[in-house]
Symmetry: C2
Subunit: 202 residues, 2 copies
């Protein structure tokens, strides 16, 4: 049991994954780590701070996956599509983190500045890719903004619905490969969307 701080973070994610964010309890986490109920509190100051740290780490993970997609080979269209796929994959593989990341009432992220910078880092990948794909000398800024919002909304909505289990059956195991049918659904949905979005190119 090397680093209690890391252990606490891991146990928190595990707990959220198992029983949802409402069941996240510092005391239960402490119990799982085999320490007193105040030990986690010593490392994080408050439950909010712990959650904020998890959120920040989540956004760095997401940013890395998006940046990998961005720097892949292929046309801008292809890389934008890859980024969308990466977004959904991240949500499915890190359900616990994803569930927390977009819930401002859970932890005020102002406490953890890196959360803010990491989330804009992820966002700017999307902005760059959309500009590259749909930008042009005669394309107004407003239009690009709308296209960015459209792409983000689509992948975020798809990811959210999948994680919450509203779409098809959820594959419950954490970290496991998403099952075949959701895989196919994601692929076909992104396919339809990227084909549709292609018609917006200048």
């Amino acid at each position: 049991m090397p680093d209690l701080r890391e252990q606490v973070l891991a146990a928190s994610l595990e707990l959220i994954e198992e029983q949802g964010v409402a069941a996240l309890s510092l005391r239960e986490v402490a119990r799982r780590a085999g320490v007193s109920h105040q030990a986690p509190y010593h490392h994080f100051g408050s439950k909010d701070a712990l959650v904020a740290e998890l959120v920040a780490r989540g956004f760095t993970g997401l940013s890395e996956m998006l940046e990998a997609a961005e720097s892949a080979r292929g046309t801008p269209t292809r890389r934008l599509r890859l980024a969308g796929r990466a977004y959904v994959d991240f949500a499915l593989r890190h359900r616990a983190a994803f569930r927390i990341m977009f819930r401002p009432e859970l932890a005020d992220l102002s406490a953890c500045p890196s959360a803010d910078t990491e989330s804009t880092r992820a966002y700017s990948v999307l902005v760059r890719l959309v500009e590259e794909t749909f930008g042009g000398p005669r394309v107004p800024r407003r239009r690009l903004e709308a296209i960015v919002t459209m792409h983000w909304s689509l992948v975020h909505g798809l990811a959210t619905l999948l994680v919450d289990g509203s779409l098809g059956e959820r594959s419950d195991e954490a970290g496991s490969t998403p099952d075949k049918s959701t895989e196919a659904l994601v692929e076909q949905t992104l396919d339809a969307f990227s084909r549709a979005a292609a018609s917006l190119a200048p």
Copy 2:
């Protein structure tokens, strides 16, 4: 103070709207209604049951708005677009309800059967509109499913991001008209999307 049951439901929504779903407390609700801490419990049996009831009512409200859009005049394309707009509008005008509706870990909806029927009622509006717009004798079922998922994901993602405040600045007042800039953002995003989706027509 006529119907305590209704009063409790209203106070619950109010509380969620003010301080987020984590702050929903039966005891605080009871305090606001001026009754003992067990009075709400008598009407609902458990906190989960209360939330489930709110979810069910939320879905009926959403279904009604979607059905109104469905039975409006105009081309299928236009009505589909209106339904999307209705979805986002519902989320913005009933933030508290919307925040709860897609969170299965908050309340097991199996306790409240109407929640399930009402949610599929809303979903089937979307399915009908997509079939009407994109269906045809030579269009495979899989393709239609993908288009349904695409539409749902887009409006759900847009609504979620707006409600959570990730997109632009949130207009915090509950029930108030969404402010001008988010209004414009929604309009432009749906515009871009419905134009893009049009290219998928048979």
